[in-house]
Amino acid sequence: MVNLSVKIKDLALKNPVMTASGCSGFGEELADFYDVSQLGAILLKGITPRNRDGNLYPRMAETASGMLNAVGLQNKGVDYFISEIYPRIKNYDTNLIVNVNGSTVEEYIEVTEKINELDRVTAMELNISCPNVKEGGMAFGVSCPSAEYVTREIRKVYDKTLIVKLSPNVTDVTEIAKAVEAQGADSVSLVNTFLGMAIDSETRKPLLSTITGGLSGPAIKPIALRMVWQVSNAVKIPVIGLGGIMNAADAIEFLLAGASAVQVGTAIFKDPRIPLQIIDGIENYLQRHHFNDISQLIGGLQV
């Protein structure tokens, strides 16, 4: 038997594989396929204080080895989440982590205070890296002062494990990571999507209603991996790695680069079972390499 469990501050994961926010709904859509209690955690769809319709259609475009999205945080607001969705999902025997969004610091605080009350929400992911909203979102995640400010204010009102989700659309991601660590973040997750765009050469029009959108999938993996490696070397808090993970080998690369856990996003669109296959694959890898604990893998890059 090998030990797959990891701890990120007070967040105890039975295995290091989580589903990424915006790619796994509220877990219910995955439960149509399998028992979601096998997952380390489910990162719920990004939530804002009030209803958001999101951006206009079309919201996605396929690209080489990936896709662009411009969903724009469509959700029915935190109160709807608490009254309608949370009761349906709270008995899933896995960690439920809310991805918190806002266009002002006050809005971030409003959502945080409300979800702080939910017993079964064991951690929050502060999203300061959404590229698809006009106000807030990524604007907070691309400069040290604003990232520090929002993290500090949220730390004051949140007692459980606070993960800050970082944007890759910056010159030096380690600076932002160090800044949020200094303000009390318990962990950082990276990366969110890369800002990109696509044009239909025939119609000479953009393929997304918002012109630009967020790039995800295997296309971004090498850059995401490099950033995770850099950040792991720069901070002491645990790092959660994501970006283009499609299989167990990809996930293991992120663990070796220093991530304590990983998230699987776009891969779910290809096959919702991929997160489970990754858990099996990691276990198999540990046995094959005669490790008995996942911790032996984390940061185990041989240079």
């Binding site: 859509e29 149509d32 259609y57 080489a64 896709m67 999205n69 999938g217 669109f269 919702p272």
Partner: protein
């Protein structure tokens, strides 16, 4: 509802005409129940340029043989690769997806209109509903005779089959809404449409004018097909709805057309 990801075996791939292919797929297991209007999201094999799956309406279902089929119209790289699959190869399907059409009551008269690849769900509907030519009419529209599907005569036992072509080479010349049956829509209890957007909008306009309940099946771009990405939304009177889980079939009264 249970959804499944499963490898099916291609047991036939027949060209219906220049751009449409009828692909029949067999499961190793008993089939999940499939309702007319539901779809499957198919992984495109051996094409590095195609990253996401492609959605296709489920056409014929044969529980005894454990087969389902799809009608694939070649539009771009994914459908082109799919149209070239060989008998015996394996395809990964996610199914059954979406909500299907509201089934007609046994005594209701229906008109089902299909254009292009939208033929698949409307034919599935009349067959599943065990309709008959006395109670159901189907109008199939295409640009020209060469784009009409052959081998669907067998559906004559479920519905009166009517054709329109833009160039008049088969059936009535003009659009589906130019067919004489559109002259007296009030005799139908329900109208269904699936096909290109302008066609569905034209049918919806006529149905609305005649006061007959009408459902259309949308083909919005999809990334996942099972409700997690929120890429496929359609603005409706109930807000932005997810076409892959809350559709693809919508009552026209809910749409902002």
């Amino acid at each position: 509802m249970r959804k499944i990801v499963e490898n099916f075996t291609v047991i036939s791939n027949e060209a219906c005409n220049l751009t449409n292919f009828h692909i029949t797929l067999q499961s190793d297991h008993p089939l999940a129940e499939v309702f007319p209007g539901q779809f499957t999201n198919i992984e495109i094999p051996d094409n590095k340029d195609v990253f996401l799956r492609r959605p296709f309406s489920i056409f014929e279902v044969n529980n005894e043989n454990r087969t389902i089929s799809v009608l694939v119209k070649v539009l771009g790289r994914g459908s082109l690769t799919l149209s070239e699959v060989r008998t015996g190869s394996r395809l990964s399907l996610i199914y059954p997806l979406g909500k299907g059409f509201t089934l007609p009551a046994p005594d209701e008269r229906i008109l089902a209109v299909g254009g292009g690849s939208g033929v698949a769900p409307v034919l599935h509907l009349v067959r599943y509903a065990e309709a008959n030519p006395g109670s159901a009419d189907v109008i199939l529209g295409a640009k020209s005779e060469t784009e009409h599907l052959n081998a669907i005569d067998s559906y004559g036992k479920y519905a009166g089959l009517h054709y329109t072509t833009d160039d008049g080479t088969m059936g009535v010349k003009g659009l589906v809404t130019d067919h004489p049956l559109f002259g007296d829509l009030a005799r139908y209890d329900r109208i269904y449409a699936c096909g290109p957007l302008p066609m569905m909008k034209a049918v919806a306009r006529e149905a609305f004018r005649a006061g007959v309940s009408c459902e259309v099946s949308l083909e919005n771009l999809m990334a996942c097909g099972f409700g997690v990405c929120l890429c496929c939304i359609e603005p409706t009177v109930k807000g932005n709805l997810c076409v892959c889980t809350e559709g693809p079939v919508f009552n026209i009264n809910d749409l902002k057309w």
